[in-house]
Amino acid sequence: MKALRVTTAVLISAVLIFPLYWMIVVAFSSRADLLGGELRLWPRALTIENFRQVLDSFPVFTWFGNSVAIALVVAVISVSCSMLGGYAFAHLRFRGSNTLFLISLATLMIPVQVIMVTLFKLVTSMGLYGSYWAVILPTSASAFGVFLARQFILSIPRDLIEAARIDGAGHFKTFTRIVLPLSRPLLAVLFFMSLLQVWNDFAWPLIALKQNQLFTLPIGLVYLQGQFGSDFGGTMAFALINVTPMIVLFMIFQRYFVQGFARSGIK
């Protein structure tokens, strides 16, 4: 029984890891090997020729910097907004609470593609087009983040919050001194989810960032693929540059994930 379970797990893992493995193999294979046409599960010789070529031909470092800057700013704004909103929905009583909560959840269902034309016009008329803000502001509002934060903060005992209030702490102080310190797993999840989402976002940045110099990595990746055609070596080298930081962060953060989700009542 146990042997069967281990075998199944190994098989599933092998299937899931293969595309990643293959991307790495192709990224480090020489042009000759790739054009050879025969299937080699391990390249004859490892080479960084593909990486060098991509770095020489495209402003990869600029794109990388753009991605880092945009992702960090969005993550900070989005996590702050989500935590504040989540606290209000979880522990404050006010008129219109249910309505506002439902409205913000409903916005989850509005795909960016439904509003992209008018969002584009809006961003242009605000004078943001052609700047990082064109991507940052529209992606910073997170209904999902507020929802997750509310669920998690609800699990913080009300008595604890009441106690702080009785001791004379204002709402903001209660929030920063009681709620935030108890929300570390949630903060980790929210921050990382936000980072991940922005880092990997494609549809909206594709529309909002027309200039080559402002591209984020996924846009650069598609642009580069258009230039390289079916030169998979170069494309995969760049894809690897795109995915590595998030995979590494993911491995570090992942133990918080199960914890964060489990305590958010989504179980």
Binding site: A9, M23, V26, Q113, V114, L119, S230
Partner: protein
């Protein structure tokens, strides 16, 4: 979130008055004298609005305003990026006789009803496996959720690398064992299948993760009790695990449907909607109309239809699902 308690009722009733008063210092003093309790709740309302303001402002400006604007645009005949002329429901009428629109709708729905149950079933299965006694569980878990961290674009490019008709691994493997190669790019069904498979690869980890989180809250004693009652592994799965991860299932159902209706990156990069529109979905079609053909009114109308279809789907799920209460 309930405001049904008596005090809650009071707080909501007096909130606007209290807010108006709080604007002047005399008002504030007056209010303090009148009732400490009222002040507390008025303060609570104000604090709540202040806490919510940043997020609500962003949602209002960058989601709701463009949405209303899109609704208006969908009633207009537009040309390029200039102002439009109102034409009433003409764009919507045109949709009815547009075969590409119907094809895209069909593909979107088909994609959703294949991908949603498949990724949930696979996710649940793997979660059960990882929740059992297994050496190196952490390693297996890391591997299985790794695709979650990869961008849609990179995923799609990896998909091309595997599914490419001429140089892809899959066809080479098929040929090496004497099977005919599959036309992943030129055959409609095969192209659709390749998009579905790549999406599943990308999404199964997330489903597994949510189910795994859900299973952690199931008490082991329940399984012991079921065992004592003579339930085999299948019965324990069917009558203990499945009902108790109901809230996870509901959450995942909604999210998978939303994500499936919005599928874009994978299709845009892998097939571009082809061959012969076999993988065209509403979102790629709306993108083409809005930013390639530049018929914005029409693009907005397609977007509105997508939104309505999604809302109906979600409303039906909400109506018929009994475990939603536990999520709330």
């Amino acid at each position: 979130m309930t405001v049904s308690s008596p005090s809650g009722g009071v707080s909501t009733a007096i909130a606007p008055v209290a807010e108006a008063r709080a604007r002047t210092s005399t008002g504030r003093r007056l209010q303090r004298r009148k009732s400490a309790k009222k002040t507390k709740f008025a303060g609570e309302s104000l604090a709540a609005y202040a806490f919510l303001a940043p997020n609500m402002l962003l949602l209002l400006t960058f989601v709701l305003v463009p949405l209303v604007w899109a609704l208006v645009t969908s009633l207009q005949q537009t040309n390029g990026f200039g102002a439009g002329v109102f034409v009433g429901a003409a764009n919507y009428v045109q949709l009815f006789t547009d075969p590409l629109f119907w094809r895209s709708t069909l593909n979107t729905v088909l994609f959703t009803i294949i991908v949603t149950p498949a990724s949930m079933a696979l996710g649940l299965g793997i979660a059960v496996l990882l929740n059992s006694v297994l050496p190196a569980r952490g390693v297996f878990r890391s591997i299985m959720i790794a695709p979650m961290a990869i961008s849609g674009v990179a995923t799609a490019l990896m998909g091309l690398l595997l599914f490419d008709e001429n140089s892809g691994v899959l066809n080479k493997v098929l040929e090496s064992v004497g099977l005919p190669a599959i036309s992943w790019q030129s055959g409609g069904t095969a192209a659709f299948a390749s998009v579905v498979l790549v999406t599943l690869w990308w999404r199964v980890g997330f489903n597994m993760l949510i189910y795994l989180a859900g299973m952690q809250s199931i008490s082991p004693e329940l399984y012991e009790a079921a065992k004592l009652d003579g339930a085999g592994p299948w019965h324990r799965f069917r009558y203990v695990t499945v009902p108790l991860v109901g809230p996870s299932s509901f959450f995942l159902l909604i999210l998978n449907v939303i994500y499936s209706f919005q599928v874009f990156d994978i299709i845009f990069v892998m097939t571009g909607g082809g061959p012969r529109n076999a993988t065209s979905v509403l979102v790629t079609y709306a993108y083409d109309q809005g930013f390639v053909t530049r018929d914005q009114g029409y693009a907005a109308a397609i977007g509105m239809v997508l939104l309505v279809v999604m809302l109906i789907f979600t409303a039906v799920q909400w109506r018929f699902n009994t475990s939603r209460d536990v999520v709330e």
